[in-house]
Amino acid sequence: MNTLSLALRNLLRNRRRSVATLSAMMLGGISVLLFGGYVQNIIDGLQTGYVRAGGHLQLQHRDYLLYGSGDPTAYGIADYGRVIAIIEHDPVLAPLLTVVTPTLEFGGIAGNFAAGVSRTVFASGVVIADQNRMQEWNDYGFLGSPETLALTGTAPDAAVIGTGVARILRLCGPLHVADCPQPAAAAVAEGRPMPQDVALLAAVDTAPEDSAARADTGAGPPPHLELLAATTGGAPNVARLSVVKAESLGVKEADDAFIGLHLPEAQRLIYGRARPQVTAIALQLHHTSQIPLARQRLAELFKTSLRDDPLAAHDFGTLNPYYGQTVGMFDAIFGFIAVLIGAIVLFTVGNTMNAAVVERTVEIGTLRAIGLRRAGIRRLFVCEGLLLGLCGSLLGVGGALLLAALVNHSGLTWTPPGRITPVHLNVRVWGELSMLGGTAAGLTAVAVCSAWWPARRAAKLEVVEALRHV
């Protein structure tokens, strides 16, 4: 019979109190873990969205992030084909990669001249097949099949716009956009014909094969818009795009400004007949944890085979500051809740141990009289706190796993921020070893700490006083 065994028996002596203490710890553990699992799901979902849209890493001109969005021609990647080939054939990077794809992003003015309206937009030219492969990334096992881009199988001059763009450019009707408010009739501007110069530019830029491709779809003619952008030399250029769909991106600012189009069309608009460039090369990895290794290798390549290209690699967190802000915010909330729960556990266990010391004062005197040192008494009560902590943590972890499984199989859905469609309510507790271990260790540590003070008090009792206690 050692200290641990004696401590366990002492805990079992007053079962009702021990059960009440364990219940408080278990509830605390469950609360922390369920909230942590819910937060983890949000963060994983957010990360999955960013990685599917833009990859884990993007290679850009090293000054593009600061200055390039206003001047894609000056801060583009000219020889991007060679850069992609080097990356795809690199023995270190190749096994890490799922997709390497170029993108061209630029600002412009989209106009629906028939309605006499225009607005500034943010356009993104992408390789559709690559983007569809990027959508398949699902390292966190989210339910549902990957989404396919609306531009899939469309003509080279096809474009997808945000629902806000459709609303502003009066394209909701032709695009069958639901819940799209229309301006009062008096406010509708009388459309004027497209200016002659713009019409000419658009006519020059429209490739003859576009019409054939559009005819292949067999559908009625989609609505058009004109996208005006500055070319390499600073001259304006216009692309006439057929809008195949208006879709919501979940954020009003993006909805009101987004235009997605095929990369070649975007390049033709910006670079004309000059050598086409891209503004970024997106690298999607098998796992987010591979980012440091990939970055390290890219840094080596920047000094060797890519030394002539002024490139920099940015991860999705740098490119999307909202991700870091969200993670930081949830970390702070999680920490706050954990501290609150910890304080409750601290006082609950402390109260239990204090009551035990008072009840067992004579026993403490007896043990000391028999020959147990003060440290032995302290160890006994700390052991009881440790056992309470371990049992409470185990119950908390078990309860959280069970409840999380119930929630995850209940079919509940919710619509996270930045999304337009509801997703399964998923609480990620299972497999989150660091969170489970951290919570269990934290609860146990709090229980031990709260037992420390009563244990110290018990150890300091004078033998004679303790034996006299009534």
């Binding site: 002596r13 004579v362 000391r368 009289a369 020959g371 003060r374």
Partner: protein, 229 residues
């Protein structure tokens, strides 16, 4: 060597704002392997003296020498170790650990001295036999009568083979028949295990069994009667 020598010991307790002398200039020697009784009226200082002898309290003045060692200078931990190896306690209220059964209660001091398991088993068996509780080894204190509990306490007090066994009115909470049986038992095991036993009691039954009787009054020794050995 005398197991216990007390020289000019004083002890005062504060009672509110006023100090109350509990022992005054106590000087006495306890003979080895004897059954010594501290007697006196309630408040005479029996328990205080027993606490000082048992090294669970410290005198304000004077010296106490147990087994040839002056205990006043010992540190708290050293005193605990000293008690563990040299002093056994039998309490008025038995003071058994309720979560341990009879066997484990007797074994506990041996666990503290890190006695090997086989040796512990042998010793505990021997002691439980001596107090007649072999059949109740696995009973917890709550499942034992008052007399049986005190027998377990006696066995526990003898577990480490102490030089001194101290008993503070061990029959006070027992009926007279059981009390007499316990006194007889203590007397028997004292002789069997060659221990020096010091009792505090004002029970005439106990006094009748004593080898030496020390009578206290108002914190002073009134008389010391020693039976010729």
């Amino acid at each position: 060597m005398d197991p216990l020598i007390i020289r000019h010991v004083d002890k005062t307790y504060p009672l509110g704002k006023f100090p109350v002398p509990a022992l005054r200039d106590i000087t006495v020697t306890i003979r080895p392997n004897c059954f010594t009784v501290l007697s006196g009226a309630s408040g005479s200082g029996k328990t205080t003296l027993l606490n000082l002898i048992g090294c669970i309290d410290r005198p304000d003045a004077g010296e106490i020498e147990v087994a040839g060692r002056a205990v006043a200078a010992l540190s708290d931990d050293a005193l605990a170790d000293f008690r563990l190896r040299h002093i056994g306690f039998i309490f008025q209220n038995f003071n058994l650990l309720p979560v341990l059964d009879a066997y484990e209660n007797v074994e506990y001091p041996l666990v503290l001295t890190r006695t090997p398991a086989a040796q512990r088993r042998r010793r505990v068996g021997e002691l439980l036999d001596a107090v007649g509780l072999s059949q109740h080894a696995r009973h917890r204190p709550g499942q034992l009568s008052g007399g049986q509990r005190q027998r377990v306490a006696i066995a526990r007090a003898l577990a480490t083979g102490p030089l001194l066994v101290l008993a503070d009115e061990p029959t006070a909470n027992l009926d007279s028949g059981t009390g007499a049986a316990i006194i007889e038992l203590i007397r028997a095991v004292q002789q069997t295990f060659a221990a020096t036993v010091v009792f505090s009691s004002h029970d005439p039954q106990v006094l009748a069994q004593a080898d030496d009787a020390i009578v206290l009054k108002d914190g002073r020794i009134l008389s010391v009667a020693r039976r010729a050995s």
